[in-house]
């Protein structure tokens, strides 16, 4: 047994499947959802939701999140319903066969800001703002990457270059089409003070981390039970194995 474990360890840890990340390695933050007991900080994620709805959502979609999902981050059903009602989704055809719209309900996903990708590009200098639902899982070291990219001070003070791009060292290639989205005073905190860019960046990252992996808490809770069960079971197997083999020279 002692000889097998290092071999398994070597095979598992020796070869991470991804190549080097393009762009500067992101700064490392500590996040509430890390570690085996990690959970999302509901208040932080809710503040992130506010950052999303007031700023990000004017260009980015969030197509895998339904309004009812927001109950999981601490909104009441009424609050989620009220938020949904502020958005319009396609309704039934009317009696003339014309398309209609209606207020969104709990079962609807966040409507995208554009009718289609072509419109999105046309209104964004040719660049397509990506959907944010999976962004944290779709980038190497995703949470740290997004937070670093959004709070970089030089980026946040930069002017666009001749191509309308902004310099950001964390973005692959170094030039990003997105104008710096966060600024001090975009939102106020519970005491009514202006929130700093760093706080806003951390909060939106927390929201996007939840959006990318909403089952994280269920997963870690179940993992604890499974691992403890397997430890006991395997321990019993080991004792039994020792007992059965006790009188056999091998």
């Amino acid at each position: 047994m002692k000889r097998i474990l290092p071999v398994i360890g070597l095979l598992v840890f020796a070869v991470p499947a991804w190549a080097a990340s393009p762009g500067v390695s992101p700064q490392q933050f500590s996040w509430s959802w890390e570690g085996i007991f990690g959970t999302y900080d509901r208040e932080q994620v809710q503040r992130g939701l506010e950052v999303f709805t007031t700023q990000c959502h004017s260009c980015h979609s969030l197509k895998y999140i339904r309004f009812r999902d927001l109950v999981a981050i601490g909104l009441s059903e009424d609050e989620a319903e009220a938020l949904a009602a502020g958005y319009e989704v396609p309704g039934d055809l009317d009696e003339w066969g014309d398309e209609t719209t209606k207020p969104a309900e709990l079962q609807h996903t966040f409507p995208g800001p554009y009718r289609n990708d072509t419109e999105a590009r046309a209104l964004n200098n040719g660049a397509l703002p990506p959907d944010l639902s999976l962004m944290v899982k779709a980038r190497v070291d995703g949470a740290n990457y997004i937070a670093s990219l959004l709070m970089d001070p030089d980026y946040n003070q930069s002017e666009p270059d001749d191509n309308g791009l902004y310099h950001n060292p964390y973005f692959a290639g170094g030039s990003i089409a997105m104008a710096p989205p966060l600024y001090e005073g975009l939102l106020v905190d519970a005491e009514g003070n202006d929130m700093a860019v760093d706080e806003l960046a951390r909060d939106i990252t927390a929201f996007l981390a939840w959006a990318a992996e909403p089952k994280l808490e269920d997963r870690k809770r179940m993992g604890m039970k499974v691992v403890l069960f397997l430890l006991v079971l395997t321990g019993l197997y080991y004792v039994l194995k020792r007992k059965i083999w006790a009188n056999v020279e091998h």
């Binding site: 991470p16 499947a17 991804w18 190549a19 980038r139 091998h250």
Partner: protein
């Protein structure tokens, strides 16, 4: 004979369909060498991994939509809206990695202890066919989420077929069902990904048939000479396999529940985009050494042939290894080269994970050359020139003298 066979009803049934005495013969009274070490656990672990893949895979198939426009969304729906869908998908994705981990360790066990030598050549070949079928299954399964890596891995690998002279172009278009990787490719990969695991089940049956016909090898590499060399499979190896399964599931659970995306690639959470090539296209970790061999040869056809041969030559192993001694425990020179080969393959894995630039190209070519040198030149030569240590008279004598398990890797006196 197990106790339940004394029951009259059992015997009545068994005279009409001898499934119970068959089970008794193969799983209970079956004589196994008494000195198997923990490296002999990986066969049963591979079986467990196969069952995990089939069970989780069938559940996923009930919720997945095999269409280029809907596959990615349907996977996210499984992750978010299907009850325990995240568990099924993470178990399936990590299960593939763990299937390869245990199978690779099983193969290395075979290489170390000479499991491919007479009379087990056919057993070894069936194992290699299982490995190849697994690789095809895993490759096609990785395409199904229709993320960026899915799409581009499918493009890179299927394009290799176009390197074949004359038939290449029409063949690759036939495989694609079009003029590039697109919806028809996805749908046929789905159909085959569903089919092949059951082909593997059949091959596993043949593998076990051949195993029970030739009987298990053992760390000493000598044949059993009598009943004193063997013990009953149950309870001795059933409990040992159960303990091994517990250990395996523990490591698996740690990845599944606490690092489910560690072995995956972030780019596969970006939907497939035929117009945007990822900066570095890399396969899953278990294909990296083969990918390195593919890229080591500066010719498309040459690379594809080398990659095919890297497994192909393993079929010739019973003759490439000229030594009559099976176990590396008694082969002082071979043992060194075995471990060098292991390191070489790990180096190939790193080369496969890195972009083919600078020193990685040279390292990849040297490591590839060494891989083939090992099997085609060194292995025959070592067999001729090496002086093996004396073999013990029997498993029982070695065991009773306290050096029999060879679990230390040095079974000789």
């Amino acid at each position: 004979m197990a106790d339940f066979m004394n029951n009259g009803l059992v015997r009545w049934f068994d005279r009409r369909l001898p499934i119970l005495s068959w089970t008794n013969h193969h799983l209970i009274d079956y004589p196994a060498p008494r000195n198997l070490n923990y490296m002999w656990n990986f066969g049963s672990l591979a079986g467990i991994a196969l069952v995990i893949q089939i069970v989780t895979g069938i559940v996923l198939a009930m919720h997945y939509t095999p269409h280029a426009d809907m596959a990615f969304d349907s996977v996210e729906r499984i992750m978010r809206d299907v009850d325990y869908g995240w568990l099924m998908r993470y178990a399936h994705a990590n299960g593939a990695s763990f299937f390869f981990i245990v199978v690779y360790l099983h193969v290395f066990r075979g290489l170390y202890y000479g499991s491919y030598k007479a009379p087990r050549e056919v057993l070894w070949w069936i194992g290699l066919v299982i490995l190849l079928t697994m690789m095809a299954t895993a490759f096609m399964g990785y395409v199904l989420p229709w993320g960026q890596m899915s799409f581009w891995a499918a493009t890179v690998i299927t394009n290799l077929l176009s390197a074949l002279p004359f038939v290449g172009e029409p063949l690759v278009e036939w495989v694609w069902g079009g003029f590039s990787v697109e919806n028809p490719t996805l749908v046929r990969f789905y159909a085959l990904h569903f089919l092949l695991p059951f082909v593997i089940v059949g091959l596993v049956g043949l593998h076990l048939w051949a195993l029970h016909h030739t009987k298990s090898g053992n760390p000493l590499g000598i044949d059993a000479t009598g009943p004193q060399d063997s013990i009953r499979f149950h309870p001795y190896y059933t409990i040992k396999d159960a303990f091994g399964a517990g250990m395996f599931l523990l490591v698996f659970a740690v990845f599944l529940f606490y690092a489910p995306n560690y072995l995956g690639h972030p780019d596969n959470y970006i939907p497939a985009d035929p117009l945007k090539t990822p900066a570095h296209i890399v396969p899953e970790w278990y294909f990296l050494p083969f990918y390195a061999i593919l890229r080591a040869i500066p010719s498309k056809l040459g690379g594809a042939v080398a990659m095919a041969l890297s497994i192909g030559i393993l079929f010739l192993l019973p003759w490439l290894d000229t030594s009559r001694v099976r176990s590396a425990a008694f082969r002082p020179v071979f043992r060194w080269f075995f471990w060098i080969l292991v390191i070489d393959i790990i180096v190939l894995g790193f080369v496969g994970a890195n972009p083919p630039e600078g020193a990685w190209i040279v390292i990849g070519q040297i490591a590839t050359a060494w891989y083939f040198l090992h099997f085609l030149i060194l292995l025959p030569l070592i067999g001729w020139f090496e002086r093996p240590r004396p073999l013990p008279a029997s498993i029982a004598t070695a065991v009773l003298e306290g050096s029999g398990s060879a679990s230390s890797g040095r079974g000789a006196r």
